[in-house]
């Protein structure tokens, strides 16, 4: 390949690159907002030109928006969409199994990939009331695979979240099937310092790659339980110059990536 690695990148840029790598060509991807928007644009322009993006306001795009978006409802995201429909119609497709991959962010995620975006502390008297699910819990319930994106701080990785907004693997194993979820579950957790996956059987989180400058020990130290390390864990491949160029074309002011 003619691409050259470069060390000159921000943590957010590396997260975008890692997120883009979760998208396979031809897939239907529930994109959502912020970094995944850039990841979708990056994947489209590199290894996944035939990926299609979904947005919970009822949009389907087969091209990324021509301008940086602060919300999925910004006018440039509607212009050139291939379908602008009702949230309910789009989510119905999701319920059928239309989305191969979905992205969500959140405040805290636990050992089995359960995500809390609702209540820190007791639900009746919360310490912090977070904004809530939005479409996140639907994406987590219904997508073929889920990629979770959030900052790597120990407080964001408790062994058990205090409230499961978006279901991951519950308490592990076949929990999703037991509660009746039709498919899915987290495939990747993309953090500022590492990327984690889940074991095939118990569905417990495990370290897959640590970002340059971090380490397996650093990832373990910033996790609220005794984090497993995948047998083939290794350092995260660096972003290529091409990847960084595209991200910077998409976010020239660094609104999301600086």
């Amino acid at each position: 390949m003619a691409q050259h690695a470069t060390p000159d990148y921000t943590p957010q840029e590396l997260m975008v690159v890692c997120a883009a790598r979760e998208i396979h060509d031809g897939e239907v991807v529930f994109v959502g907002m912020r970094l995944p928007l850039l990841a979708f644009a990056l994947a489209k322009r590199t290894h996944a030109p035939n990926a299609v993006g979904l947005f919970e306001n009822g949009l389907v795009r087969d091209t990324p928006s021509s301008e940086l978006l602060l919300t999925m409802g910004d006018a440039p995201n509607i212009a050139g969409a291939e379908w602008a429909t009702r949230t309910g119609a789009l989510m119905g497709l999701l319920a059928q199994g239309f989305a191969n991959l979905g992205f969500v962010g959140g405040a805290e995620v636990d050992r089995f990939g359960n995500l809390n975006t609702s209540y820190i502390g007791d639900r009746a008297h919360p310490k912090v009331k977070l904004p809530g699910s939005g479409g996140g819990a639907d994406i987590a319930s219904l997508s073929g695979r889920l990629a979770i994106i959030l900052a790597h701080e120990k407080k964001r990785f408790p062994e058990h979240v205090s409230y499961v907004t978006s279901p991951g693997y519950g308490d592990g194993g076949d929990w999703r099937a037991r509660v009746g979820l039709p498919r899915g579950g987290p495939a990747a957790v993309i953090k500022t310092r590492a990327v984690l996956g889940f074991t095939a059987d118990t569905h417990e989180m495990e370290l897959r790659t640590w970002h340059p400058g971090s380490s397996a020990e650093d990832a373990r130290a910033n996790t609220g339980w005794d984090l497993r390390i995948a047998p083939d864990a290794h350092e995260t491949p660096l972003p290529t110059a091409d990847e960084l160029r595209i991200i910077r074309e998409c976010d020239p002011q660094g609104f999301w990536t600086r």
Binding site: G73, A84, R86, M91, S133, S141, G180
Partner: protein, 300 residues
């Protein structure tokens, strides 16, 4: 009808009001501000991602209950008034009925279909569905599939900002539609606030673009700029900076009180609001270039 009259007549204290139904665009801020000015109390707010309008109504003390999927400031994060209401009961305690975007869409769909509920396979295993007054687990009697039954929501009124409407109460809306249609059909009546009031012939020229029949309409209000700072496709873009300013200026109850007086209470109507915003800022948001839909021929 004027905004003041529409709110006076059709949004009494204690109403359930659906707003912000297209998610981030077309949020009826002008209507919401009039509700605040008229000091409505004990409202139930219904919507998916409400962005900062619900936060403002909460801070102004208008709200008893919220049924929503997400309450905050989409581009900035948390909503301080929502946090104060739920964490500290300020200015007074509220009831929160948590939803996801899909469950709120299905609740309104069920309302529009005139049935008590619609089943759903999302949120199984989520704490949202646990002890929820309006979502109940019930395996399908047909094939045993685990589902959650989402109770029908029938708001007293939906307030929907649209690009154009006619005097007879038919509206054209385009762009991201969110749950606008479900809410218009489920609600007992609809108030449209419109960028433009157009002749009936304009609306009737494209019946597929009409949101709901005129018989559902309570009032049509001419409200140019009525969705600012949210965007209106083909008219103006989102005023991102306004959301950031609100975030900063609502951190404390005192800050918010100052903001509210300046932006809402001391502003008689939307024309004055836009004047206050300033022509330069307003024009910078304007749609920069047209992008017309391909012609459609309904000819016979």
């Amino acid at each position: 009808m004027t905004m003041a009259e529409a709110v006076e007549r059709f949004v009494p204290d204690g109403s359930s009001v659906a707003m912000g139904l297209a998610l981030e665009p077309l949020i009826p801020f002008a209507a919401g501000h009039e509700i605040i000015r008229q000091r409505r109390r004990n409202l139930t707010l219904i919507g998916p991602i409400s962005d900062i309008l619900f936060d403002q109504l909460l801070g102004a003390g208008c709200v008893a209950k919220i049924a929503a999927a997400w309450v905050g400031n989409v581009s900035e994060g948390l909503g301080y008034n929502y946090r104060r209401a739920t964490e500290q009961g300020l200015p007074h305690p509220i009831t929160v009925e948590d939803h996801s975007n899909y469950s709120i869409a299905l609740a309104l769909l069920a309302g529009g279909l005139g049935v008590p509920y619609v089943p759903m396979r999302s949120l199984l295993g989520s704490d949202i569905a646990r002890d929820h007054p309006a979502i109940r687990p019930h395996d399908s009697p047909l094939d045993g599939t685990p589902t959650l039954l989402v109770s029908a929501l029938r708001p007293d009124v939906a307030i929907i900002h649209v690009q154009r409407a006619d005097a007879a109460g038919r509206a054209h809306v385009w762009g991201g539609l969110g749950v606008c249609e479900e809410a218009a059909l489920a609600s007992h009546g609809v108030i449209y606030t419109a960028e433009e009031i157009v002749p009936a012939a304009v609306i009737l020229s494209d019946p597929n673009r009409v949101l709901a029949p005129g018989k559902k309409t309570l009032a049509v209000v001419h409200a140019p700029g009525g969705a600012h700072p949210s965007p209106v496709q083909g008219y103006y873009n989102r005023d991102h900076a306004y959301f950031a300013e609100y975030h900063e200026r609502s951190r404390t109850p005192d800050d918010f009180a100052t903001w509210l007086r300046e932006q809402v209470l001391d502003v008689p109507d939307r024309a004055a609001y836009l004047e206050r915003l300033g022509a330069e800022r307003w024009q910078a948001l304007a749609r920069r270039a047209p992008l017309l839909a391909a012609p459609v021929d309904y000819g016979v």
